[in-house]
């Protein structure tokens, strides 16, 4: 076998080339793009692709995190470190601040996923961003499987699944009126396994909580939650130390861990390629509220 029979790229390099193309289109066509960066694996991969798309120039946009105030400390530390390394401006839109100043109110159940949306929309308005990169993938959820790479949002940030722009070839229609915006998903065609294989091939560092480690945990609704300031066991929920890792990182009050011994990227790839449970099904309490919870939140302006 030769190295490049028939000028063939591997699937990861095809996906990377497509994502680079998407990022360059946005920067060429929009005045104020921003990239949503949470310190999670998908947004870390997006930053790597952004680096590649504009090399040797610096990444030509800021990154923004909507911080619920309920995040894992390791992830926030990683977020700050990576932004500094890359020399990009990090904007933090704080849900806690929005609660403190009364612009949103804390839901009775204490989970802050839903109130992220108005905080995000306010931040977009305040900074006049008109293109917002998100790390969502179509394999994550059936509503996302329907979404365009350039996802048009009206002045309220709303998604209308029945009124999407057709998307042909690699020609993206980035035209918006003042006040409207575009959510852009460069990783649309990637799967969870692609992300991990890319992290491995590129040797990308990610927060330690993605790898197996010992943690104080308890079980609720068949999911393993870590004991955290915002996620305390109720009476009858027994705390014990388990060896766990996280498949997604989000709000600590909603994001469950999975029991795992995968403490290296190779072992994680092995685990992800044989698992029988989806990423969100295994770890996200918020998607279980209803059959269409993701769609409903996206309609309100969520990612």
């Amino acid at each position: 076998m030769t190295d490049t029979p028939n000028y063939q790229l591997s699937q990861l390099r095809v996906l990377e080339a497509e994502s680079i193309h998407i990022m360059r289109e946005v920067v060429a066509e929009f005045e104020r793009p921003v990239l949503l960066f949470s310190g999670g694996k998908d947004s870390i991969v997006m930053l790597r692709i952004a680096q590649k798309a504009f090399h040797p120039a610096r990444i030509p946009f800021a990154v923004m995190h909507v911080d619920t105030g309920h995040n894992f400390e390791e992830v926030l530390a990683f977020r700050d470190k990576r932004a500094k390394e890359l020399g990009v401006q990090l904007i933090v839109a704080s849900v806690q601040e929005a609660i403190d100043n009364g612009s949103v109110s804390e839901p009775p159940d204490g989970t802050r996923n839903r109130i992220q949306t108005p905080v995000l929309l306010d931040a977009i308005d305040k900074h006049r961003f008109n293109a917002i990169f998100g790390g969502a993938r179509r394999d994550e959820d059936k509503a996302r499987a329907k979404e365009r790479i350039f996802s048009y949002r009206d002045e309220f940030g709303q998604w209308d699944p029945k009124n999407q722009r057709p998307e042909l070839w690699n020609l993206y229609n980035g035209r918006v009126h003042v006040g409207d915006s575009m959510r852009v998903f460069p990783l649309s065609n990637w799967t969870e396994l692609d992300i991990w294989q890319y992290i491995s091939e590129e040797g990308i560092e990610i927060p330690s909580i993605y790898y197996a480690h010992d943690r104080e945990t308890f079980v609720r609704d068949n999911m393993v939650y870590a004991v955290h300031d915002v996620c305390r066991p109720k009476a009858g929920e027994e705390v014990s130390v388990r060896r766990v890792r996280y498949r997604t990182v989000g709000d600590a009050s909603l994001t469950a861990a999975v029991e795992s011994d995968a403490d290296t990227v190779e072992k994680v790839i092995e685990e992800v390629s044989t698992t029988r449970i989806t990423e969100r099904g295994a770890t996200r309490g918020d998607d279980k509220f209803s059959e269409a919870s993701m769609e409903d939140r996206k309609r309100e302006g969520y990612f």
């Binding site: 504009f54 396994l193 059959e291």
Partner: protein, 418 residues
């Protein structure tokens, strides 16, 4: 490992969701929690069996109405290949959705019901696949279990379809008898049809050769973005970033830049990981030239003796995609072709095509939603146009309504002199 992108098409109730469900299921792509959710919803709705269509119909309105509204993208993999399915609804707005799905597809998969044989929609789907120049077409004759796995039935449908396809541009046609419900010939070969000696559908999808479908002859590099780092380390750096749309670019190659016509040589082909020897589709790279020339987004780098035609007058087939306004002669639109965006005017609608009979209506004055016609456009600036049949990337464009910003049309540049 490589990727195969395929688009599925079929009319209502011919078992498309079941077929996709079966492919996902038998390749172990359906996860337990997804299946649990589908079983729970099927049970809550009082359905007798697990409705696999619920795996693919993700929107609230789709579930309520039991129909598929829009193109959805799905992913599965086998040890041989990764697959991206553009799952296009057969129900409403079929043309627009199928054109969308087929625009990026290496292969189109059309389903027919063995009991009904070819229907109008089967011909329409085949025509659209050929219009969009999808290089490979697979016709799945489904529900073979309901015709007693009859070879005569299959042969008659296969014969009729082959005759019809001969009138179209379909370079590679494969016809497979399947039962999506029972799993015959979907993932593995079926014992129920010993007379069939071809591959199963999955085996075909895993092995169909797509690498040679790209145009590696005509060098086309639409400049997407100019990289000029304002930093001390890279003071004089000027790189032209883009995705290779055709041909192979190498250091030292003589190149010509359109529309200016300046020539130079490639000083280097770069990525963030370093210089590369060669760049080919669909690589995203940065090209540096030996000479300082003024090049900006929308320009095209090609070879001196192999150029697209810079032209302000473009003949093209248009598929109209907007329900709220029709294409009208004399109207102006925004045209996006490669990385170049301009304005254009519809000079002439030469004919509207009836995609069932392939009849050309030369009296037509408009194109409505899902209608296809041949137009002549004049653009404000030259477009570096190739025939779509030669290069799907430099031959395709979209039309955008200036007032609403909606994508209203998909265009395919016609072969010159045809």
């Amino acid at each position: 490992m490589d990727i195969l992108r395929f688009a599925t098409a079929g009319s209502v109730d011919d078992g498309k969701s079941t077929l996709i469900g079966r492919l996902l299921f038998d390749t172990k792509t359906v996860f337990e929690d997804q299946l649990d959710a589908v079983e729970r919803v099927s049970r809550d709705r009082g359905e007798d069996y697990t409705n696999l269509a619920l795996l693919t119909d993700g929107l609230r309105a789709e579930r309520e109405q039991g129909i598929t509204i829009d193109v959805a993208y799905r992913y599965f993999a086998t040890p041989k290949r990764k697959f991206i399915i553009a799952d296009t609804p057969g129900h409403i707005q079929y043309t627009r959705n199928m054109v969308t799905g087929a625009s990026t597809a290496d292969l189109a998969l059309v389903l027919v019901d063995a009991r009904k044989g070819l229907v109008e929609q089967s011909r329409r789907h085949a025509f659209l696949a050929s219009l969009l120049q999808v290089p490979h077409l697979v016709l799945c004759v489904n529900k073979m279990d309901l015709v007693d796995y009859s070879q005569e039935t299959f042969d008659a449908i296969a014969h009729e379809f082959t005759q019809f396809a001969a009138k179209l541009r379909i370079p590679d046609l494969t016809i497979i008898p399947v039962s999506a419900l029972k799993g015959d010939n979907v993932v593995s070969r079926s014992d129920n049809m010993p007379w069939y000696d071809g591959s199963s559908l999955l085996h075909h999808l895993e092995n169909v050769h797509v690498a040679s479908d790209r145009n590696l002859v005509d060098v086309r590099f639409p400049v997407q973005y100019v990289i000029r780092p304002m930093s001390d380390d890279w003071h004089d750096y000027r790189g032209y970033a883009g995705q290779v749309a055709g041909g192979v670019l190498k250091k030292g190659d003589e190149v010509l830049v359109l529309p200016s016509g300046f020539t130079s040589r490639i000083a280097s082909v770069e990525t963030a990981d370093g210089e590369v020897d060669e760049a080919y589709p669909p690589m995203s790279v940065t090209v540096r030239l030996e000479d300082e020339i003024d090049i900006s987004r929308g320009d095209m780098i090609c070879r001196p003796h192999n150029q697209p035609t810079p032209t302000q007058d473009v003949d093209a087939m248009i598929c109209w995609m907007d329900e709220s306004a029709q294409l009208q002669t004399g109207r102006k639109y925004v045209i996006k072709h490669t990385t170049r965006t301009a304005r254009c005017i519809v000079k002439d609608l030469q004919y509207r095509l009836d995609i069932n009979s392939l009849h050309r209506d030369e009296e037509a004055g408009t194109l409505a939603l899902n209608e296809i016609g041949r137009v002549r456009l004049r653009s404000t600036v030259p477009l570096m146009a190739d025939a779509y049949s030669r290069n799907r990337t430099t031959g395709g464009f979209i039309l955008i309504d200036e007032a609403t910003n909606r994508t209203v049309g998909a265009g395919m540049i016609a072969d010159s002199g045809r």
